[in-house]
């Protein structure tokens, strides 16, 4: 029962909030508390669940969702759960971070006319997301997958009166649809190949094939090779990897807590989760994981360069999210699932923190997003300043912060993989990762120094989501104070909003340390389906394939252990990046200006996302539009006239039959008798013939 | 055989005649114009034959019709009752009686309903 309650409590909360808004709109103000409470309850249940799962697997059914056929052809897809330590990690992130963000949003959204709507969507999102990670079959997983997509669409388009938000919502939906199409094909292929969509059964089948191949009998079929590629398309779409990344930066049009929850901490990691969950399927195909790693590493660098030049406060973090997701894909691509999941967890902490502090700045500046207009805000908003500093440290990977440990694990594993396999590709990818690490440190602190250090300056934004500004800041003041004027000066957020941020900051600084030395994530991953396949015959730990940790052996690079090498290297790069940023954007601002003038074109090109949108338009959208125009013409000319005819036909027929309905009993009687006679004749004819 | 019929006949005739004689002797005797007119279920017999009747007559007529038809079910029952109840019967006569009583009960319910609805009230 406990697993079932975890998604359904938020679902119930969503339904309740919806009903309240219909019938008792004066209770709408409880929506936030209801939503946060429900998520909190789910979090507590998750904690309880984690103790019962331990290192094992809990499978439990809720109800038989789809069931038809019998015997061998039977198809079942239940609302039932498969919970292993990986699921628990995901659940803890979703409900834990989700709860904190809900508390923050309670303050952030206060006074917004769609207050209840926001929390109904958030609760629904938590339902879909938890269903996604708990599903024991791909169909249910897909339900959750589409569910989070829907919620993401609704939340991006939350300010539906803003054309930009609506366009962004549509873009997110459509781009995701491309990925989902691939995913759906993958699901079909899985069913065709394995005869079931039950994840555990499928993975067992995949492992058997893996073992058979390792022993030299049995072969990988073409289907085995294709399935991961199709699933991968879905994962890239949801997790905003090249080439399906472009929806994520636009998605920042949604309220900031949504950016933090959906588009940084949870939903976008669903792709990583999918690959980790189905790792054996990917291991079957010799090309799948290198492809994942390559796409991840390239995306990481690509997005980092854009983040480097972007002047949009949330945009920098959006691109940085894309970049960090790239790291995670690099991680799973080089079989470092523990590294990927580790990074997923730490990233959830620090990126949520960064978004929420960015939200605070925006909030204080009435929606201002351009960082060039800001400076020296540390005096006005000291708490926010240092909270964001903590998040930036973690993102930059400064030693001993959360980001340091997780990023380092991925890079180290990648290097070790490259050494072990002598793979030039992976050396190259590792190199990209290292460059990205430096860039990350640099652009992160570029932002921080620009906004909080230096000369104090600010310009108020032109957007009046004034209503929430006022109410959020001066909750005590009467609502009558709600005129639409912007603030005179930015100021600190109340502690009801900063409280959750402190928790997140603590996580961003300490989670890595704790998890690194307790080995919690490694342990969880090794006992889940994401465990890397170790052939029993070739392993020294035949009886215990999961082992303590796969990395019993050490790969040496230039005579140093790969992990140690990477730790040292990335520490140096991170610190160097921070120092350089401090130098350029704080101490000697003129250098930055000079450089900007010098590389103006390049910067503009990068800021324009290397014209990816235009290329995409030209390559995909335009031809489609042309084709659409062609079809439209055909439709107008031919099909429409046919349809008019067909649409008119029932009307004409109806008008023709109608006079028979003249309302007179006798003529009705006559119709009936004639009809009976005609049909009786028909029967007679049929009997004769 | 014929003696029995004769006795029955005698009883029937004497019941009818006796009643007439008794009411004549015991009842009050009034004479008048109204009393002298032709009896036609309380309607005034003089006037157009096409004039409409009070709707109550229809209702009574319909009620009569329904109760009249119920009698139809008593004939087959009465015809077979002795066979079931007699020595050659299967001893189900009791059940059979109860069933017919139940049938009667439904008629009684209908009658009570009609009564409550005021079908039999003429004021």
């Amino acid at each position: 029962m406990t697993p079932t309650l975890i998604p359904w409590i938020p679902a119930l909360a969503a339904a309740t909030i919806g009903l309240i808004s219909l019938f008792r709109s004066e209770w709408n103000r409880f929506a936030g508390a209801l939503c946060a409470g429900a998520i909190g309850l789910s979090f507590v249940l998750t904690l309880w669940l984690s103790s019962s799962v331990g290192s094992g697997v809990v499978e439990s059914g809720f109800y038989d969702w789809i069931s038809f056929g019998s015997g061998d052809n039977a198809f079942h897809a239940g609302f039932s759960w498969f919970i292993d330590p990986l699921t628990v990690v995901m659940l803890l992130v979703i409900t834990g971070i989700g709860g904190l963000i809900a508390v923050y949003a309670h303050g952030y959204m206060k006074g917004d006319p769609g207050y209840w709507r926001f929390f109904a969507y958030v609760a629904l999102f938590i339902f879909a997301m938890t269903t996604l990670v708990m599903a024991d079959n791909l169909l249910l997983l897909f339900l959750g997958w589409e569910g989070v997509g829907l919620c993401s669409y609704l939340l991006i388009g939350y300010y539906y009166e803003k054309p930009k938000a609506v366009a962004a919502a549509k873009k997110a939906f459509i781009v995701n649809r491309v990925g989902d199409f691939g995913f759906l094909l993958g699901i079909f292929l899985c069913y065709q190949h394995y005869g079931t969509l039950q994840i555990s059964t499928m993975l067992e089948g995949a492992r058997e094939t893996l073992a058979a191949v390792a022993h030299g009998h049995g072969a990988v079929t073409a289907t085995d090779v294709w399935i991961p590629f199709l699933l991968m398309v879905g994962a890239f779409g949801k997790s905003a990897q090249l080439p399906l990344y472009m929806w994520l930066p636009d998605a920042m049009a949604g309220p900031t807590p949504v950016s933090a929850l959906v588009h940084a901490a949870t939903m976008v990691t669903a792709g990583v989760y999918l690959i980790a969950r189905c790792l054996p399927l990917f291991e079957l195909s010799p090309y799948a994981l290198p492809t994942v790693a390559t796409v991840g590493a390239v995306t990481a660098l690509f997005a980092a360069t854009i983040a480097l030049v972007s002047n949009d406060l949330k945009g920098v973090f959006a691109y940085s999210t894309v970049s960090q997701l790239g790291y995670m894909f690099l991680g799973v691509g080089c079989l470092s699932t523990d590294g990927a999941v580790f990074h997923l967890v730490t990233h959830a902490f620090f990126k949520a923190l960064l978004f929420l502090t960015a939200g605070s700045v925006m909030h204080a500046l009435a929606g201002q997003l351009n960082i060039q207009t800001m400076g020296g805000l540390r005096h006005k908003m000291p708490v926010t300043c240092w909270l964001m500093f903590a998040g930036c440290l973690a993102l930059a990977g400064v030693p001993l912060t959360a980001g340091f440990f997780s990023k380092d694990l991925i890079l180290g594993d990648a290097l070790a993989y490259a050494v072990d396999h002598g793979s030039v590709l992976f050396f190259a990818l590792t190199f990209l990762g290292v460059v990205t690490a430096f860039l990350t440190a640099f652009y992160t602190f570029r932002l921080w120094f620009t906004v909080f250090m230096g000369e104090e300056k600010f310009e108020m934004g032109d957007e009046h989501h004034a209503a929430d500004d006022h109410a959020g800041d001066h909750a005590d003041e009467a609502d009558a104070a709600h005129d639409d004027h912007a603030h005179d000066a930015p100021h600190e957020m109340p502690w009801s909003m900063n409280g959750p941020l402190v928790v997140l900051a603590a996580g961003a600084l300490l989670a890595g340390l704790v998890l690194h030395f307790t080995g919690g994530i490694e342990h969880a991953v090794q006992h889940s389906t994401a465990a890397v396949f170790v052939d029993a015959a070739h392993s020294q730990h035949a009886g215990d394939p999961a082992g303590d940790h796969g990395g019993e052996h050490h790969a040496y690079f230039l005579g140093v252990d790969a992990h140690v090498f990477m730790q040292v290297l990335s520490s140096i790069l991170a610190v160097a990046g921070v120092v350089l940023a401090a130098f350029v954007f704080w101490m000697k601002r003129e250098i930055a200006d000079k450089a900007a003038a010098r590389f103006d074109k390049l910067i503009r090109f990068a800021r324009h996302e290397y014209c990816i949108n235009e290329i995409c338009d030209a390559a995909v959208v335009l031809p489609l539009r042309r084709l659409g125009a062609l079809f439209y013409a055909v439709d107008r000319l031919i099909i429409n006239s046919v349809m008019d005819l067909m649409g008119g036909l029932p009307r004409w027929l109806g008008m023709g039959v109608r006079p028979a309905q003249n309302g007179r009993i006798q003529s009705y009687g006559l119709t009936m008798v004639l009809g009976v006679a005609l049909l009786a004749v028909l029967v007679l004819v049929a009997t004769g013939g | 055989m014929f003696g029995a019929v004769g006795v029955l006949l005698l009883m029937a005739v004497s019941f009818g005649v006796g009643n007439i004689v008794l009411t004549h002797l015991l009842g009050p005797s009034r004479k008048g114009e109204v009393k002298g007119t032709v009896y036609e279920s309380g309607m005034n017999p003089i006037g157009s034959a096409r004039r409409r009747f009070n709707v109550r007559f229809y209702i009574v007529a319909m009620t009569f019709l329904l109760f009249d038809v119920e009698i139809v079910f008593f004939y087959p029952w009465a015809a077979t009752f002795t066979k079931l109840g007699g020595p050659e019967g299967d001893g189900l006569a009791g059940m059979f009686l109860v069933r017919m009583l139940f049938f009667l009960l439904t008629s009684v319910i209908a009658f009570t309903y009609a009564w409550r609805k005021g079908v039999f009230r003429y004021d």
Binding site: S67, P650, G654, I665, V676, L679 | -
Partner: protein
């Protein structure tokens, strides 16, 4: 040979209904105002109790046609739909001027129709239950008349407008005509076989050794044909559909909801029984032609006529005609392979009845909760309750924005009627089409799909209007709280049921409909060895079927 006592044992639900009906009659005429107010509650309690009894008496394993499961399913189905209909209909007699006058300072039993209304309501539903349980032509005839006769009175007495009387008289006269028709059919069946009991009749019908189909004598065939055509009146199928729109429009809207559902269930139950005299899975060709022709004509005529209507009740009336057409095709599809989800046409009809029932009740309940304000004089446009319920399309304009509940129910009802996945209407059509395909009538499936497309024309028009419509004149007003009363509750329940029953866990309702047609093994306690042998002979899964039937009937129909 089962004795009368055995038959009575299976009739406990009907006996309960009868007693409850009499109790309603008595309560409605009681001198105490408080007792009179209890009448609808008694009616509801009676139906709930009858439902429990129907589940408790269980499936008749000795049904002469082997349709014991269908009997129980139909009883439960009509009781559940009846409970929702009661919510929609409750308050109708109380709202009449006549009753209001009678309830004045001094109660006048001669004027109040409260007791009669609920009495007839229960009697008509009892008629449906008896129709389903009939094992004899006499019984079937009586049960069908018991279903119909109360409805004539219900139409005439629940609205003071003359159109209601017109509607009643049309329904009555044409109903009598059709009754004579199927009665003649019954007489011919009796003449052809010499029996009125279903079992012996079925045994008397020869089966052709060549084709494996029934080979009835011409007299028998004519009897079946006339019975089917006569019964078409009850389900509002061509050529007996002519009355539908006039009657539905003239009756008070809650009563219209009743008319759209209850006689239809009775008609299809009777059709299943009558056709099963020949064997539903071995119908001779002429009967198949007949059913196919009726089905195609019915759905086409219904849809094209609905297409040109503007009055909502007429639209829904012709929609009801069209839906009968779909179900007619289900009847000719045969029983399919036991245990297979698809392919059992009559089972699909049983489920479709439920889906259609909730869809229609939802739509009519919404109409009943609204009042048009088009005609300011209100003289001829208001009924006894002062409500102008002759709604046009325009009256629904933007209903969602005025009342999300009513608008939502209307939307769900329309979507379920149009067959939008995953609503119950979709499941109904899906299983219906599955059955017809399984029987190999591909042409008919194409006709059905085209007709569905036509029906989308008017269903979706209503759905769109509910959201985006803008009325040229003043749209309908929502009745005040006291007047719309339980109708809204009924509408909501119908809406939720229409939304959910298709997707209940493991498709239980659909599965129950299918299993209703599967043979019921004799009670295990009787003679273990024989039972074992019989079970082995029939199907290996028979005990499992029986168990799931026993357990599943409880959720065969969702609890309101």
């Amino acid at each position: 040979m089962p004795t009368i006592a055995d038959k009575l044992a299976g009739l406990w639900p009907e006996i309960v209904m009868l007693l409850g009906a009499v109790a309603c009659l008595a309560a409605g005429l009681s001198a105490s105002a408080r007792t009179r107010r209890l009448t609808p509650w008694i009616a509801g309690g009676t139906m709930a109790l009858a439902w429990i009894f129907a589940l408790w008496t269980g499936i008749d394993a000795d049904h002469p046609l082997g349709l014991g499961g269908v009997v129980t399913y139909v009883k439960c189905l009509v009781l559940v739909l009846g409970l929702v209909l009661l919510l929609v209909c409750a308050g109708v007699p109380e709202g009449l001027k006549q009753t209001a006058a009678a309830e004045g300072a001094r109660f006048d039993p001669g004027l109040s129709v409260r007791g009669e209304f609920y009495f007839f309501f229960l009697l008509s539903i009892t008629g449906v239950m008896l129709t389903a349980g009939a094992t004899d032509l006499v019984w079937l005839f009586l049960a069908l008349e018991l279903t119909s006769l109360p409805t004539y009175v219900m139409i005439a007495m629940t609205r003071d407008r003359t159109v209601a009387h017109e509607s009643a008289v049309k329904y009555f006269f044409l109903g009598a005509l059709s009754a004579a028709m199927f009665l003649y059919g019954f007489a011919l069946i009796y003449g052809a076989t010499g029996f009125t009991e279903f079992g012996p009749i079925r045994d008397a019908v020869a089966v052709s050794s060549e084709t494996g189909l029934s080979d009835p004598s011409p007299l028998m065939l004519m009897g079946i044909v006339l019975s089917v055509l006569g019964l078409c009146f009850k389900v509002a199928a061509v050529p007996m559909h002519v009355y539908t729109a006039d009657v539905y429009q003239g009756a008070a809207t809650p009563v219209t909801a009743f008319l759209a559902v209850v006689p239809k269930v009775a008609g299809f139950a009777a059709l299943i029984m009558v056709l099963h005299l020949l064997g539903l899975d071995r119908l001779p060709e002429p009967v198949l032609y007949l059913l196919g022709a009726i089905g195609v004509l019915t759905m086409t005529v219904g849809n094209v006529l609905a297409f040109v209507q503007t009055n909502l009740k007429r639209v829904m009336a012709y929609s009801s005609v069209a839906n009968s057409g779909y179900m007619m095709l289900g009847l000719m599809a045969g029983l399919g392979v036991p245990g297979n989800a698809l392919g059992n046409g009559p089972a699909a009809v049983l489920f479709f009845l439920l889906a259609y029932g909730f869809g229609s009740i939802g739509a009519f309940a919404v109409i009943a909760a609204l009042a048009a304000q088009r005609s300011p004089d209100g003289a001829d446009h208001t009924d006894a309750t002062g409500v102008a319920d002759d709604l046009e399309y325009d009256d629904l304009a933007g209903l969602w924005w005025r009342s999300p509940v009513l608008g939502g129910v209307m939307l769900v009802s329309m979507l379920t009627l149009v067959g939008m996945p995953p609503l119950s209407g979709f499941m109904g059509k899906f299983f219906l089409i599955g059955g017809v395909l399984n029987a190999g009538f591909y042409g008919l499936v194409i006709v059905l799909v085209i007709n569905s497309a036509i029906s989308a024309g008017y269903y979706l028009r209503i759905a769109m209007l509910t959201f985006f419509g803008e009325s040229s004149s003043a749209p309908a007003v929502i009745l005040p709280e006291g007047r719309r009363g339980p109708r809204v509750v009924g509408a909501v329940i119908a809406g939720i049921a229409g939304l959910l029953i298709g997707g209940l866990p493991g498709n239980s309702v659909v599965r129950n409909a299918r299993e209703a047609f599967e043979p019921v093994p004799a009670p295990a306690s009787a003679e273990p060895e024989t039972v074992q042998a019989a079970a082995d002979e029939s199907t290996a899964s028979a005990p499992a079927v029986a168990r799931s039937q026993a357990a599943g009937l409880a959720d065969a129909v969702p609890t309101p």
